[in-house]
Amino acid sequence: MTGGAATLLQSNDTVLLPERIADLTGLGELGVAGELTAAFLGAFIVANLMLATTGVAGPWAKRKITAAFTDRIAVNHLGPAGIFVIVADSVRLLSKENIIPENADRPAYDLAPIIIASSALLGFAVIPMGSGVHLADPEVGLAYVFAVAGIASIGLVMAGYASGNKYSMLGGLRAVAQNIAYEIPLVVTGMSVVLFAGSLRMSEIVAVQNETVLFTIPGLEWAVPAWFALVNPFAFVLFLIANFAEVGRNPFDMPEAPAELIAGYQTEYSSVYFVLVYLGEFLHIFLGGAIIATIFLGGPAGPGPAEIGIVWFLLKIWAVFLLTQWLRSAIPRVRIDHLIEIGWKGLLVLSFANLGLTAAIVGVVFA
């Protein structure tokens, strides 16, 4: 957790996925064009990995999880435990007619789903997923993730305004109010982690957490690493709450709020557009999970050899996903004015308190 660890890391930098592909395929010898191709290949692999995760989560896992919470069975006809419903649902969703409202404002209406889905995908570029799956590792990694995740708000507003539907507009308005109120606590809490790690670079944040040992339990081989969730549980909880609001899940699913706004900003979207919006939502949940896993839960670290890191990483983001579904089944939705109040009067103050406290501890204890 000191400057020493950081310098040590910088000297043996991690090998990123595009470089590895370039080496393996020999593309690296073809100069810039080859490196570019390798980079695209890497991006293609990561994007598909995340889309596949979402594909499992959206039509199947979500149903199964909710069903388990509510005493039901859910899909069970196609394949083992109904897993092939994913195929059936894909065909169903894609073959539906894409209805575009008469007074929709195009092309904003068409662009919104693309923005919502792609902004989340962009974020995964800097996430170290273990087993060498890591696309890029810029110095400003954490700031970059927050920045691209924030683009989604624009997509929501565009969807809300361009649909030409009053419910959509209310949903869009709520989405903006909510995202502004919760993005600040989110980033400020993220900064406290940066204070600990001394870097915005994702790989370093992960490394710092796993270099240091928080404490060892007598009689056990495995030492408890200094994951920031354990070092600063307060920041972890703050970040989790802000994250739920950021991705619009219960108890903060205000922008959609089916009982009030029908489906909020996505009311008018059908067929492929709906798939994109839906996909974007799930990608955002997983991106939120990925950020949490990276900056609080030691990234891909876990017992066993480092090669299975991606398994641990996926487990961690699925754990966060499970939590969102659990909350969805169990907790009422707060009201929009309460939400804004919690954001500005509660979380913001607490996150700054947390930042100050962390700064003091880091400054005094580790100076």
């Binding site: 909710t66 919470f69 509510t70 005493d71 039901r72 009053k166 419910y167 209310l170 219960n250 108890p251 699913d253 709020a257 089916p258 009982a259 009030e260 706004l261 029908i262 579904q325 969805r328 089944s329 169990a330 907790i331 009422p332 939705r333 707060v334 009201r335 929009i336 004015d337 309460h338």
Partner: protein, 549 residues
């Protein structure tokens, strides 16, 4: 039976006669209450006196009908503090000029009732603030329950663009209101209700429920059926979410009192027993759908309540052979005895009763003690007791506003007077109180069922008379009129019938509790947020089948 409430003093017929004095032009007594005929111009005058001097604070129902020579409006008045003290005010108008003074300034609830009378019969009410059609579309020609109505005439129904009623009310250039149609197809309207809403940002500034999408001419269908057999299946279809038996009882009670039929004691116990099962099923559904409104569509609570309601449905299915449209009550009793083997049926019911406390505990853990739930429900959708009375609110809605009023106790029928149970009231006046009332009523109903069960188990085998001896064709006396109500799941479900000496009623009027309760929606939600509007609507627990009939 609980006797905690001191009944208000009864006003004798002579006192009423003296109060009305010269304004009464004749007497027209009904089987349930003395009736006074007054002039159309004296309506408000008389009603004000009856409300403020004699204390008739509950306008239970307004019935309108057409005779060969006149129109007639009947105000069925009673007291929240003494339900058995009833009086009917009969207002005849001529066929040529069917204009009568409105009772709306006296009782707010008369607003919708008179609109319905105007819509279906064609009587016009002077001084009414908003006299337009309520169940039928604005463009409808003729009045369907009036004598000269031509059913074969095709009707044109146009689509009108909705205008913002507050468009002109923008106090400065910055402010702007938005008109929003909530429903008739909306996840939170519990059926085909259309709420015309005007929003200022997220705040609700004007609410106008538009009903009638599910109007199925229930009154007219009952007028075409025979008392003895053909009417009983219809009540199941009014409040169709598992409160069927409670509705059937409303008709059964009215016709039995009208034709002077004594129901055997054993049948009364079965009726009480099965009706309370219906109440539990209905309240479970109310709780579950309210959770949907407040939690979101993936809530566990909704599924839990349906899981538990299913147990009740099974018992009712064993008893009646049906899950929703029971058609189990008969004039003078019930259709058949408890199912054989009786022990199995009793054991099943007992299991349900034994498991219920743990389930109620679970709901309290899940719902009522949840901080976010309390944040959402406490102090939202406020309905003050005086306002509730003005709107004729009854049932859990009134009791959640602290109005201690329950027909099972205040106007005893069935086997309720012989059983130990309490009327639940809450003093929060808010959405939370209404939820609490329903949850506690489930427990009270369980108490009643428990006692009925013990009675049924020990009932001597040779005395199981399930039906009184009722003539095959029932023809009540000519011009007999009766208004009788029971405590249905949603409140006071009343039925007015007039006999013309044939085997079919000349007028059959349904007083739906949801109809009156829904009127109070604007009062509860104006100035609050959209989510509160949704929660308040959910807490009213309306069923559109009963609102529209």
């Amino acid at each position: 039976m609980s006797t905690g409430l001191e009944k208000e003093a009864e006003t004798s017929v002579d006192e009423i006669a003296e109060l009305i004095g010269e304004r009464a032009i004749a007497r027209d007594d009904h089987l349930n209450a003395p009736g006074f005929v007054i002039n159309p111009a004296d309506v408000q005058d008389v009603l004000f006196d009856l409300r403020d001097v004699a204390g008739y604070d509950h306008c239970s129902c307004v019935t309108a009908q057409q005779y060969a020579d006149r129109y007639e409006t009947i105000y069925h008045l009673t007291k929240y503090g003494n339900r058995t003290d009833e009086v009917s005010i009969v207002v005849p108008t001529t066929l040529e000029e069917p204009v009568s003074q409105s009772g709306e300034p006296v009782y707010r609830t008369a607003d919708w009732h008179e609109r319905e009378a105007y819509d279906l019969i064609g009587i016009e009410y002077e001084d009414h603030p908003d006299l337009r059609r309520i169940l039928l579309p604005e463009t409808w020609q003729g009045h369907p329950l009036a004598g000269d109505y031509d059913q074969t005439k095709p009707q044109l129904v146009t689509l009108a663009e909705h205008a913002n009623p507050l468009q002109a009310d923008h106090h400065d250039t910055e402010s702007e209101t938005m008109f929003l149609n909530i429903g008739p197809h909306h996840p939170a309207t519990h059926g085909v209700l259309h709420v015309k809403t005007v929003l200022d940002g997220e705040t609700v500034v004007d609410v106008d429920p538009d009903i009638g999408y599910l109007h199925r001419c229930e009154e007219q269908m009952c007028q075409q059926g025979t008392y003895r057999h053909q009417i009983m299946p219809y009540p199941d279809r009014w409040d169709y979410v598992s409160s069927g038996l409670l509705n059937e009882w409303a008709y059964a009670r009215a016709i039995e009192d009208m034709a002077d039929i004594e129901v055997p004691e054993y049948a009364q116990i079965i009726r009480t027993f099965s009706a309370e099962l219906c109440r539990i099923a209905s309240h479970m559904l109310a709780l579950g759908t309210f959770a949907l409104d407040v939690y979101g569509e993936f809530t566990a609570t909704f599924q839990y309540t349906f899981r538990d309601r299913e147990v009740v449905q099974d018992i009712l299915e064993d008893l009646t052979g049906q899950r929703m449209m029971f058609n189990y009550f008969r004039v003078g009793g019930v259709a058949w005895d408890l199912p054989e083997p009786r022990e199995e049926f009793f054991a099943k019911t007992r299991d349900f009763l034994d498991e219920l406390p743990a389930k109620v505990e679970e709901y309290n853990d899940l719902i009522t003690t949840n901080e976010i739930f309390q944040l959402r429900c406490v102090d939202t959708g406020i309905l003050e007791p005086d306002v509730a009375k003005q709107y004729g609110c009854t049932g859990p809605v009134a009791r959640g506003s602290g109005v201690d009023y329950d027909l099972r106790r205040d106007d005893p029928y069935g086997y309720y007077p012989n059983l130990e149970w309490d009327v639940v009231t809450e003093d929060g006046y808010d959405n939370y109180s209404r939820v609490l009332v329903r949850m506690q009523e489930v427990e009270e109903s369980a108490k009643i069922i428990q006692q009925c069960l013990e009675l049924l188990e020990e009932w001597p085998e040779d005395d199981r008379e399930i039906q009184a001896n009722v003539p095959r064709t029932l023809k009540p006396d000519t011009d007999a009129e009766i208004y009788r109500a029971v405590e249905a799941a949603k409140g006071e479900l009343g039925i007015y019938m007039r006999s013309d000496g044939t085997d079919k009623p000349a007028r059959f009027k349904i007083r739906s509790p949801c109809f009156s309760n829904l009127q109070a929606l604007g009062e509860m939600t104006e100035g609050e947020y959209i989510p509160d509007l949704v929660a308040s609507l959910g807490s009213l627990d309306i069923v559109l089948g009963e609102v529209d009939r």
